[in-house]
Symmetry: C2
Subunit: 305 residues, 2 copies
């Protein structure tokens, strides 16, 4: 990992939250003043190293620009980088070996920084239900993650999972090998297929999971209109997220936060015993990244001295 001498007067902290759809960056000063923010494209190393490091750099440069800071100040940033996929050792190593442009980079999972952000650095649990799905709990220094694993074999209940089920159902209905569903009209409208349902494949074939996640709002819409196929998809996804929540709550975290693009839709559908433990997240994962960068660099300096 490249390191440069840390100059306390110049040091800025960068929080990065990278996932299957987006990469978000926030920069704060040493005295916690929010200076700037930036957003870029996908940053999940499982789906490609080059795209990931491009998105991280791009979001960071946008945040520097937003802060009216010169691009060269990238070398003064102490970065806390939380990424999807780096729970898998090979992806962690690949990302950690990156010849990054920062002063220092501390790498962890998107879940860890989400939990730090949601509970202001205190103990708690989070479930991310965005493009992917995953649970994380941190109690008395013990951390564990649950679920996730990626698309299409894991991430049940996530936006991408919901979208995939919808596409399966629309194709089965088209072939008269499954029940007809409102989803057919909604998918037709979404992709402007003009009745040529099978051409929806051209929109999704060999595409990343974020493409599937875009269909999730249509599935909630169909379920709210009472479509049995859409209701079954949402019920199946919610049952999984509910079971995931119960496993996390078995570790006795004081709070559980749901975050991600599908969280708001899922939260009111969870079982009452789970809902009563759910709180709003305090801050976004990028701020959790900043917590992580500050704590890690304090520990690192202690080790050096």
């Amino acid at each position: 990992m490249p390191t440069r001498p840390v100059d306390n007067n110049k040091t800025l902290y960068l929080g990065i939250d990278g996932g299957g759809s987006k990469c978000r960056a926030r920069i704060v000063s040493a005295d916690n003043l929010l200076l700037g923010e930036g957003i870029s494209g996908p940053a999940n190393p499982v789906h490609g190293f080059d795209q990931t490091v491009y998105s991280i750099k791009d979001a960071t440069l946008k945040a520097l620009d937003d802060a009216n800071l010169a691009p060269e100040r990238i070398a003064d940033l102490v970065a806390g980088v939380g990424l999807a996929g780096v729970n898998v050792p090979s992806y962690y190593e690949q990302m950690n070996d990156w010849a990054h442009p920062f002063c220092k980079m501390f790498l962890t999972t998107d879940l860890h920084i989400a939990c730090l952000g949601a509970h202001s650095g205190e103990d708690g649990a989070v479930i991310i239900v965005g493009t992917g799905s995953c649970g994380f709990v941190s109690v008395a220094g013990e951390q564990s993650m649950l679920g996730g694993h990626g698309f299409p074999y894991g991430d049940k209940g996530s936006g991408a999972w919901i979208g995939l089920q919808a596409i399966k159902a629309v194709l089965l209905a088209h072939d008269h090998l499954g029940p007809s569903t409102l989803l057919t009209d909604l998918v037709d409208e979404f992709y402007q297929l003009n009745g040529n349902i099978v051409s929806l494949i051209e929109w999704v074939a060999a595409k990343p999971s974020s493409i599937y996640a875009r269909l999730a709002p249509s599935v909630f819409q169909a379920a709210e209109a009472g479509d049995p196929v859409a209701c079954r998809i949402i019920e199946d996804g919610v049952a999984y997220i509910d079971a995931l929540a119960k496993c996390l709550l078995d570790k006795n975290p004081p709070k559980l936060a749901l975050i991600g693009g599908v969280a708001e839709k899922i939260r009111p559908l969870l079982s009452p015993e789970v809902q009563e433990k759910v709180v709003d997240p305090v801050a976004q994962p990028e701020f959790g990244g900043i917590y992580f960068a500050k704590n890690s660099s304090a520990t690192w300096r202690k080790q050096l001295s």
Copy 2:
């Protein structure tokens, strides 16, 4: 489409069968003598144009070599090329625009040549259950296809679909969010995971569907040993293939053939009314490609004269 003058004395016919795992080539003389055969890697344009044309050329050169013919004779081949994915117009056009090295290329779906091969060019229906799954029926000049659509949203009951369900089940069991299953031990053994189950993701993440299909034999093995999770996967897949078969039989084809890597395992599990219509395929899809090349070039010459 590039064309060169057809010299009847030199003309050879090439049949190509390209799918998600393999590309097979056979060369016959104008008087139907089998001269050579070759196999190469994946040739499904949905998963990549460059890989597809590489595999087609590679299989063809191997078949020429097998026939003790010089590589330059590729320019004398009248090719009947059946490919997965070219039922989607954009992939058909992309492949048809290929600056191919043959004398002439006639392009159709893998299903069409499979049906022509299975029933010696006569009317009939086929279900391919290999890496993917799909049905095709040809009766009195009317052809239709059913199912397919690709991985992971379609191709139910296929090897890749069966493998994907197994990976989902193993990950759910690992997280104690699904029932435990024999599949855990079989997947551990297959990938030599030494108990580190989650590391199986590194074998499948962002990989083509053929990677998933490799696990299908383990799922049949677990089902045959009575594992309820594996039995449920196989039953669900077989129910879909059975429904697909019934839809094809509604068109009254004289015969139905099952082909592909999973066909032998699926056939005895189909409902009795479907099984009684099932026959063994007469010849392989590459020979269907040769039928297609011969018929198409005869029609083409008639149009020219």
